[in-house]
Amino acid sequence: MSELAVLGLKVGFLALLWLFILFTGNVVRTDLFGRKVSAAELAAQGGAPGAKPQKISRRALRQLPKTLTVTHGKQAGLQLPLGEGILIGRASDCQLLLDDDYVSTRHARISRTPTGYQVEDLGSTNGTFVNNQRITAPTPFGIEDTLRIGRTMMSAEK
C-alpha cells in the first residue's frame, strides 16, 4: 500500500478510537444525575412488578367515558380526554390544572381500572365529592356521575 494510505488508515483508526472515548464521555455526561420518574410512569413502563396496566377488552372500553368536561366553575366548558387516568390539582404536573382556591396541589386522581374509571382523593384539604358525597376511598366514576372539587364541577362524557 502507498505510504499515504497507511498514514490515512493509521490516523483514521486513532481518530475513531478517540471518537469512541468522546461518545463515552457524552454518555457519562447525560447519565450524571439520573431523572425523576413518577410512579405512574414507572408502572406504565412495566418497571414496577404487578403494576402493569391491565388489559381491558375492547367492548368494555367502548362503554367507558372518554372525556372529562368541566360543567361549573371558572373553567366551565373545558374538556380533556381521560385516557389512562388524570391527576387533578393546582400543581404544574397535573393534567387538569384547576384555577380554584379550594383545590389542593395534588387534589384527586382519576384512574382507569379493569372495571372502569375510579376517583380517589389524594388527601386534599377540602375533599372530593362524587354525586355530592364526600369520598373517603377510591370510588367508581362513570357517565352518570358528577365530580365536585372545590367550586368546580365535572362530569364524564362519551
Binding site: M1, V11, L14, F20, A51, Y102, G123, R151
Partner: protein, 540 residues
Amino acid sequence: MSDVVGYRKRRGVEAFMLAFAIILGMGGYLLTHLNRDAALPPEWPWALAALLTIGVALHAVIRWRLPYADPLILPLVMLLNGIGLAMIHRLDLGTSPRMHSAELQLMWTAIAAVACCLVIAFLRDYRVLQRYTYTMFLAGMALLMLPLVPGLGTEKNGARIWIHLGPYSFQPAELAKLVLSIAFASYLVEKRDVLALAGGRFLGIELPRPRDLGPILLMWLASLAVLVFQKDLGTSLLFFGLFVMMLYVATEKPSWAILGLLLFATGAYLGYLFFSHVQVRVSSWLNPFSNYDQNYQVIQGQFGIAWGGALGTGWGLGRPNLTPLAKTDFIAAAIGEELGVAGLTAVMLIYGLIVARGLRASLVARDPFGKLLAAGLSFVFAIQVFAILGGVTRLLPLTGLTTPFMSQGGSSLVANWVMVGLLLVITHQVRSPVAEVPAEPEQWLAAEATQVVPVGASVDAAAGSPRSVPATSPAAIADDAPVPVTPPADDVTVPVALPADDVTTEVTSGPGGGAGDPSGGEGDDPTTEVRLPPEDGGVL
C-alpha cells in the same frame, strides 16, 4: 410522594457502543494485515463472527437479567479485549515459527464471557456474598499463598506466582483479588464503626486505637510474605493497597491511609535492603541503562514507545517483538509502539473510565456492602492498571502484574470478566429506580403547626385514605420500591421522616388536613372543611 429517582436503562446505547468497540477491535486486526500484506486475511469473517457472538451473547444476557446495568462497562471492556486480541495476533505474526496464541486467547475470551454470563444469570443479588466473610478471607489467602506449595507452584521469570495443574498453568492471585475484595467489603461493613473510633492524636491527625491495628498488621505481614517468598512486588502492592484503600473508604479516616502508606514504605524499603530481586527492579526503574543486559526488557520497551512517537508506526509496522514478553507484561509497550502515545493514552483513558464507572456505582449504592464492594473492585483494578502501566512506562518499578483484558493469559481474563459481571450486577441494583422519601418533611410539618385542625372532622378523612399518610417509616418506602428494598437494619442514609419533637399534638392527631399535600393547604380556612362553598353551593 410517589416520585422515583431512576436512571434510564440505555440498553440501546450499550448496543451501539458495543458495536463500535467490536469495529475498533476488528479494525486493528484488519489494519495489521492490510499494512503487512496489503490484503485481508482469509479468515477474517470468522474472527468477526466470534467477536460478534461474544458481544451479542453478553448484551442479550444483560438485557435479560440486568436491564438497568451500567451501559458503558461492557463496551469499554470489549474494546480493551478486542485491541488486546488484535495486538496478540499482530505479535504472533512477528514470531517464527508462527505462534497461535491469539486463537487461544480468543477461546479464553469466550470462556471468560461465559463465566461473566454465569455470574450475571445466577447472582442477581450481590448481597448474598456478604454472608461468607471469613470463609472468603481464608479462601483468598489460600489462593494467594498457593504458588508456595511445593510441586504445585513454579517460578517463572523470577516470580513464584504460577501454579501448574497438568498441562494448565494458572495465576491464582487474579482470582484471589476478587475473593479478597468481597471478604474485605463484608468484613469492613461489620467492623467499620469500631475501626473508625479515634485513639490518640498526633500532628493533628486522629490515629486509630492501637488495639484496632490487628487487621492492617495482618495484611501487611501477608503482603510482605508475598514479597519475600513469591518475589512479586505487584501482587504484594495490590493486596495491601486494596485493604488500605477499602479501610479508608469504610472509615473515612485519613489516618488509615497514612498509616498504610507508612507501613508500605517501610516494607518496600526493607525489601529493597534485603532482597536482590527488589534491587534489580529498582535499578531497572531508576537507571536502566547502567546494566543493559539485566534491564534488556525495560530498555526495549522504552525504545519501542519512543520509536512509536505521537501517532505510532501503525498496526503491524513496528517491531514490538523485540521486547521480551511483549504479549503479557509489555503489551502496553507494543500498543505504545504501534498506536503511539495517542493510542496508549486512549487505552489508559479507557481503563480510567472503567474505574470511574465502578466508583460511580459505589457512590450511588445505597447499601454499605455494595458501596464497599464496588469501591474495592474498582480500586484493585485501578491499582493493577497503574502498577503495570506505570512499570512499562517507567513511572514505577516494574511489577509482574497482568494488563487487565489485554495481556495474554486465561486466568487473568476469566478473573477480570468475572469482576465485570460483579460490577454489572451491582450497577443494575444501584441504578434501578426506588421510591424517594421527601427530603425535609420536618419543614412542612412545622409549617402546619400554626394551623388549627379540627380533630374530629379530619380523623375519618385520614382513616379513609391511607395514601395521605406520609411515608414516615421504612415499611412505607418499601411499598413503592420495586427492586432493591433497603433493609431497615442497615445504617444507610435514606432520609427517614420522623416527626420533629416540637410538633404540637394538634397536628399529629389530624394528619389528614394536608399531611400528604405539603403546599396545598396554605391559605385554606379550616372551616371550609365542613362548609359548602358559598356561590355554587346552591347549584348542588
